[in-house]
């Protein structure tokens, strides 16, 4: 068959799109640039480029404590959200029970609701239960809020899966449990990875919900937030630049993983993400 239709020139639109791109990337570029600026975060143009702020950053213990806290919470959230999300996706895909429609909406709600609502309601719950605010409550908040991400992703993966494979497995003598491990889960590999990466990233960056559930130990975003109240220094630029670099690295890794021989699956994953 012949090729695709040619794309026609649209110069004005191209310029406009370029401007939008600039708008989207400008703050990040400025941020990175000024992390090397000796004289602080303002003024123009930046002179006296230096790595001092990065040196300061690496010696800054509270920040790294916060990083560790964030990682712990994020890892936990991934585990919790994926598990419950998987079960929820399976339930939505295969079971019928009273209140299923309500359940589906409820699970997806934290995704679209402003974080403050989720955060405050959980805070009220924690207080009502007489518990203390700590990393545990933060973990609780993230895990609960992010179940929706896992559910959406895994549900889509289940829908795309060829049902006949499970039937074939049962037909060949495997129990439902074995079928789940040997057939269902491997088919969901892509969805699990995608959801996991997304949950991890969202948890690392989460502020709104965390704001109300934080105890004495800070997560990274809240540590930065606290610093911001005290005063702005390029050290914050430096840590932000590092966060940006890690995010981009994650995307690249994710990109590599999915394009390495995954073919058609990769396309749909891209679409879903």
């Amino acid at each position: 068959m012949s090729g695709h239709a040619p794309t026609r020139r649209a110069p004005l639109l191209a310029i406009y799109s370029a401007l939008v791109f600039i708008f989207i990337y400008l703050p990040v570029v400025v941020l990175i640039l000024y992390s090397f600026n000796r004289d602080g975060v303002g003024g123009f143009p930046p002179r006296h480029l230096t790595l001092d702020w990065y040196r300061l950053l690496f010696a800054d213990a509270p920040i790294w404590d916060a990083v560790v806290n964030s990682l712990i919470v994020a890892a936990g959230s991934v585990a919790l959200s994926l598990t419950l999300g998987l079960l929820a996706a399976l339930a939505l895909d295969r079971a019928t029970f009273p209140g299923k429609a309500l359940f589906r909406r409820l699970v997806l709600l934290p995704l679209i609701l402003p974080g403050i609502i989720t955060g405050l309601s959980l805070l009220m719950f924690v207080v009502f239960a007489g518990a203390q605010l700590s990393l545990l409550t933060v973990f609780l908040g993230h895990g609960t809020a992010l179940i929706s991400v896992a559910t959406t992703e895994l549900f889509a993966g289940l829908q795309k899966m060829d049902r006949a494979q499970e039937e074939a497995s049962l037909d060949l003598g495997a129990t439902p449990w074995q079928t789940f491990w040997r057939v269902t889960l491997p088919n969901l590999k892509l969805s699990l990875i995608a959801a996991g990466l997304l949950i991890f990233t969202l948890s690392m960056d989460e502020i709104a919900v965390t704001f109300f559930l934080i105890g004495r130990d800070n997560t990274l975003p809240l540590e930065i937030w606290g610093r911001l109240r005290r005063g702005i220094t390029p050290e914050i630029n430096a840590v932000s630049t590092l966060i940006f670099a890690v995010s981009v690295a994650l995307i690249v890794i994710w990109y590599r993983v999915r394009t390495r021989g995954l073919g058609a699956d990769a396309q749909e994953l891209l679409e879903r993400l």
Partner: protein, 281 residues
């Protein structure tokens, strides 16, 4: 094909969890909105005072209206930026479409805080933008309204939500079969007419999804105002936040939260209805 045991096993844990950590907390918040605070302590006395206060006291009404205005501005601006971008990528980007798409997605992975902070440093009196203006001798004194104003909040949130608005619109545009565009041209319609008569109508579900997302999340945002809003840029969520903080009045805060919740859910329902109306196979 699935036994009752299987179905029960998969349904029960998430149901229990969601019931305990979502439904119950929302219910608690709802209950709180009908209680009161006396002498700095929470009293379980059922009343409607909080709601009355919310809708009668001008300060709250004003903040609520300002928040709506900001959310509407953010939505509009995000659409004005995101739609043409999505259209360009889908119909005119050719071979570079994939790469450009990735480039739009990348900022989504970058911390909200990071991006908000960046705007703070750009817009301030001693910020990059003012420095730039002075460097070019365009101004002699810092332009004040750039930071700590509703303008700054709208700017920052537009920046955050443009990629979010872009995504569903792009997906919707990509779903439009190209033969439809060719058929439109074939029948005598140029680019503009084809866009108005074919492409735009078929992209409405995506447009609605993106717009709802931007509006709802802007409505409940409290971080942007804290970063760049200043006193004049306070939004309703900040009011809630302070009521749960220094201005200790949980019931009132809960009442406002319930209002935000109701507005959000109503908008979601409305949007869903409209999306269905405008979905064509």
């Amino acid at each position: 094909m699935y036994s009752r045991a299987y179905k029960t096993l998969v349904s029960l844990p998430p149901l229990l969890w969601v019931g305990l950590f979502l439904l119950l907390p929302y219910a608690l918040m709802f209950a709180h909105s009908f209680w009161a605070v006396r002498d700095g302590a929470l009293v379980h006395q059922w009343n409607l005072h909080n709601y009355v206060t919310l809708f009668s006291k001008p300060v709250y009404v004003e903040v609520l209206l300002r928040t709506m205005r900001i959310a509407a501005s953010v939505t509009l601006c995000s659409l004005l930026l995101g739609y043409p971008l999505a259209y360009y990528l889908s119909f005119h980007a050719g071979a570079r479409k994939e790469l450009l798409y990735q480039l739009v997605i990348v900022p989504l992975w970058v911390s909200y805080l990071v991006r908000g902070y960046a705007w703070k440093t750009i817009l301030g009196s001693e910020g990059v933008l003012n420095g730039f203006f002075e460097y070019l001798h365009l101004t002699h004194a810092p332009v004040a309204f750039l930071l700590y104003s509703p303008f700054a909040v709208v700017l920052m949130l537009t920046h955050i939500y443009t990629p979010f608005v872009f995504l569903p619109i792009y997906a919707a545009l990509e779903h439009i079969p190209r033969p439809l565009v060719e058929a439109s041209h074939d029948l005598g319609a140029g680019s503009a007419q084809t866009f108005l008569r074919v492409i735009l109508p078929l992209s409405i579900p995506g447009l609605l999804a993106g717009a709802t997302f931007a509006f709802v999340l802007s409505l409940g945002d409290f971080l942007a105002p804290l970063l760049v809003g200043g006193a004049s840029g306070t939004m309703i969520a900040n009011v809630v936040q302070s009521l749960f903080g220094a201005a200790y009045d949980w019931p009132l805060g809960a009442a406002i939260s319930v209002c935000i919740l109701i507005i959000t859910i109503s908008l979601l329902f409305l949007s869903e209805r409209l999306e269905k109306r405008w979905s064509f196979k």
